[in-house]
Symmetry: C2
Subunit: 444 residues, 2 copies
């Protein structure tokens, strides 16, 4: 797939407009950020950078794609030179970004693109959909993991993901957010993520007797065997599983009242001399249900979260935006949008993280750098169209980054509800000054 | 992409289990359906069949993928013969389905797969994610189109879709559900769907003056020009656009109170002698906001719906399930799941649609077929691994099917809220009898 057309049409009509306006050499800087946090969130875990980078390095237009564009009414008046330019278009600009797994707050750029304006404009749609989606899922995963208080959480939601490919990426993002793995085999294959899963109800139903289904599973999987015990009657299923003894990993509960069922199943396993057999719970779980089960001391060892996690069900979109903050042609201008509810701050920025707050400053300044107590989160990833490091960090490194950084946030930012005192993001005096200057210029 | 691994791991461990249990020749029948409608829905518009068919015809395992599976602990005890089988695995079974665009109700199968059990089991995850997602979006689109009462609705949500590929498929599904098109260029290219879009705020901001940005756009797009007028001050933007006169298509409003702004902008256009210039409204719209704007007689000609549509924001998952209903090995068994809240009906089914209700019957019977008043909705699509017709219907045909069939539903089923009297789905006496028999067998 050539990817060039995987964008909103207006990115391409604007590209034609930039071409016609002889702006092809102007360099624009765009930043991606959220204006507000979704409900009940106190941070967003940045994820999806690796796929954004792959896209920037790979995107191009095939001859067929260009021929298609020429058939559209929007391109009827467009000069042939534009299409010749598209055929050779590659990303030659710069990408700065925070490492995957970094918790971010409103206004803080996930990434910054600086490139000739056409190269910076066309990727907007793809970058938003990639980084926005994975960050949303990584954040949801972090909430589930937090609620599980040390018990493992596995991502099981591919079937309800928004397309099969979304499921593959949800597996990756959930792992970065702290899950121990996913049921999505392709996620495991592509991104070296642990994969989990044993059998479904259809396995049990394909045999005349539940016991035969269990025996066959045990002989196949040995000490990795997880019996799904609720196809017919849960406690009866638990007794059948327990009667087979070792080897097994444990059992899975997928329906019914888990607060009552889990202790009853635990007792059956213990009475059968299988205290090390584990209980995996699934079935429309989310962070709040996990919290309730943990608070009720339900003897559940692992939570499998499906739909709620792979769709971020309570907050199924993340309001990421991609805004032009500078443009350099004959002159150099800082740009901002002044409409009432959608104001944006001008100029390329850097995020300076301190122990208990962030300072959003200009990319050209250094806030408190002499103190040694500050970390600048945005780093160069692509310069002049080339990857700066030989490879991007893996999902495993991103996951470690997320777990470490989330653990450092104050307790109230780790709550499942909006903190009374959210993480503080100050603006540097230089940035405030620039904003005032640009407002004056636009108004004047 | 070989697609074989784009599935939950347990489908593959079960496949290994079927292989070990010498069930490879057993033919299983699976059905995909929803148990309940999502909140406020009175139907689901079936969509995604074309992608499901492509998948079934294409899916296979590469040598690399098989090598990966061999490294997993779940496959440590699996016989080498299984992997050799996987390398040659193709879909050789049958697929029955309702045409895309058909409104369906709880319990009614979107599709039925009948194949050797391994070939029927592995596709579960992909089929659910494909058909579930597109049907969810087509349904949401139908709601927006209904609310617009004859005005056009365009899908603009790719940037907030759950991954770029989800955006491409959302464009397709929204079109099937009744939108006039999408902003997603790849959707247009792949599926021959009309595409829309002209320019964003960044276009305006890239010029020193709004007026210059407008002039350049007009010279590029002529009578397709849509001025985005709210970058700085909306009414000022409207006056600037109007002052340029013809040619233009119209203006776009993306923020502010549309109920107040639309009439004010309309007046500016009319006063400038541009009564035929149109107003396109965007900015966090959904079916309820569209309903309100239409009820308030806001002079808006086209609604662009983004996030709410591409994520089905108020109901971001569809509870599609894929259940084994028959299996034929040495004997022939009808299967059902008896757990309390998740009962399924046994046996392959047919949907018989009458004027004011449906009858869900067995696939082998014919309900009221002699009356000429009934339509059997499930049709063969793949038989013995081969597409029955030379090509699947296009998205355009599916859209027409949806519009016609939705128009025939009673008014209360077309409401944006749950109908007091939902569409009636009766079970045929033969199906009721089979269900009773299977319950007895399993209990006995």
């Amino acid at each position: 797939m050539a990817l060039g057309l995987t964008t909103d049409l207006y990115q391409l009509t604007m590209a034609a407009g930039y071409y016609a306006s002889r702006k092809t050499t102007e360099r624009a800087t765009f930043e991606m950020f959220v204006r507000h946090l979704p409900p009940d969130r106190n941070f967003i875990v940045a994820a999806g950078l690796a796929q954004a980078v792959e896209y920037l390095l790979d995107f191009r237009f095939t001859a067929d794609e260009i021929a298609y564009l020429r058939t559209l009414p929007q391109f009827a008046r467009v000069d042939g030179g534009f299409f010749a330019m598209l055929a050779g278009l590659r990303f030659t600009g710069d990408l700065f970004a925070v490492p995957e797994g970094t918790p971010l707050f409103p206004g803080e750029p996930f990434l910054t693109v600086r490139a000739p304006v056409i190269e910076a404009q066309i990727p907007e749609t793809f970058l938003l959909a990639t980084v926005g989606f994975q960050s949303m899922i990584a954040t949801k995963a972090a909430r589930c993991v937090r609620a599980a208080q040390g018990r493992d959480v596995v991502e099981f939601g591919t079937r309800r993901a928004h397309s099969p490919e979304a499921g593959v990426l949800a597996g990756r993002a959930a792992y970065i957010g702290g899950c121990v793995g996913t049921s999505n085999t392709e996620s495991g294959f592509r991104y070296s993520i642990p994969v989990f899963g044993t059998a479904a109800h259809s396995w049990v139903m394909s045999f005349l007797h539940e016991r035969t289904a269990f025996e066959q599973l045990q002989s196949l999987l040995g000490d990795g065997t997880i019996y799904l015990i609720d196809t017919y009657e849960t406690l009866e299923g638990a007794r059948r599983a327990a009667s087979l003894g070792k080897p097994l990993w444990g059992v899975r509960l997928d329906s019914g009242n888990l607060i009552d069922l889990a202790p009853a199943v635990r007792k059956i396993l213990d009475d059968a001399g299988l205290p090390e057999a584990k209980i995996l719970a699934t079935g429309d779980l989310n962070e709040h249900k996990i919290h309730e089960l943990v608070a009720a001391r339900a003897p559940i060892d692992v939570f499998g979260v499906g739909t709620a996690l792979a769709t971020s069900a309570d907050a199924p979109s993340l309001g990421v935006v991609y805004k032009m903050v500078e443009i350099q042609g004959g002159d150099h201008r800082f740009t901002s949008k002044l409409s009432q509810e959608k104001h944006t701050l001008p100029g390329a920025k850097q995020i300076f993280r301190l122990q208990d707050h962030d300072v959003l400053g200009r990319a050209t300044e250094c806030v408190m750098c002499d103190t040694g107590l500050v970390e600048a989160l945005q780093r160069p990833v692509i310069l002049g169209g080339k990857l700066v490091e030989t490879a991007l960090p893996t999902a495993t490194v991103a996951r470690k980054n997320a777990l470490e950084r989330l653990a450092r946030l104050p307790a109230q930012c780790q709550s499942l509800f909006a903190a009374k005192e959210p993480w503080r993001v100050e603006l540097s005096p230089e940035l405030v000054q620039l904003d005032a200057r640009v407002r004056q210029e636009v108004a004047g």
